[in-house]
Symmetry: C2
Amino acid sequence: MVRAHVSASVNTPHADFLVDLGHPLLNRVVDGFVKVGGVGALHAASQDTYLFLLQEETNKKSLEKTVQRMGKEAVQWGLVAGVYTGMTYGMQEARGVHDWKNALLGGALTGAALSLTEPNPRSDRVVRGAITGGAIATAAEFLRSLT
Amino acid sequence: MVRAHVSASVNTPHADFLVDLGHPLLNRVVDGFVKVGGVGALHAASQDTYLFLLQEETNKKSLEKTVQRMGKEAVQWGLVAGVYTGMTYGMQEARGVHDWKNALLGGALTGAALSLTEPNPRSDRVVRGAITGGAIATAAEFLRSLT
């Protein structure tokens, strides 16, 4: 079976930054933090809105809890986005390519960083977070190359 | 402040399919299932290997459990990849564009599908799985557009 591949890729990222801080790495980190943090806040709000629909009563306390959870999830999701974007962008600049190895290492460091935000960070949880983060990022990179 | 944007994108996906089934959608779904399923199996293996390093003894039973978990995670991760790739690719073909709306809907359906594989699927868990799946996919799509 003879197979020939012609594959060309010219990709100028369509990145429209919210704030221009003068450096591409900084722009990406801040942009990832803000955008993905917003998604995290919307996620917490949607989850709690759905719970309110199931419950009988919604009082002031439960609404306050939702706002707290929105803030917490926004920071956590934003942190993940900022660390991951910063790491993969730095590696991309240093190595000259963007492939699953960047994703694996970036995801592992992001997973470790996220584990450290837990109330009681234990070393085994940080390692397991790093393994899971690396695996998720590698899987996402494979999916990205398919679509 | 004057800002000008010139943005060009020519992107031929570098997709090297494992098995050619004659249809791009089918190729993508099978390829996503196999590749990401492999990442899932490696994830289970790495997690358990790390646990073995912490434990004192490793016997036949714990190794058998690891193999079982590898199979289960491979199917789950592969399912996520297959459903997500199929959905987003179908929407991309139908709408002509690939943006965060495709990711949101694809992620929501993937999250719902993954919730149905749980031992006792309850309707509220399926809805919450859909919300979380959509949020994660949207966040990943934002990150993808940054790097």
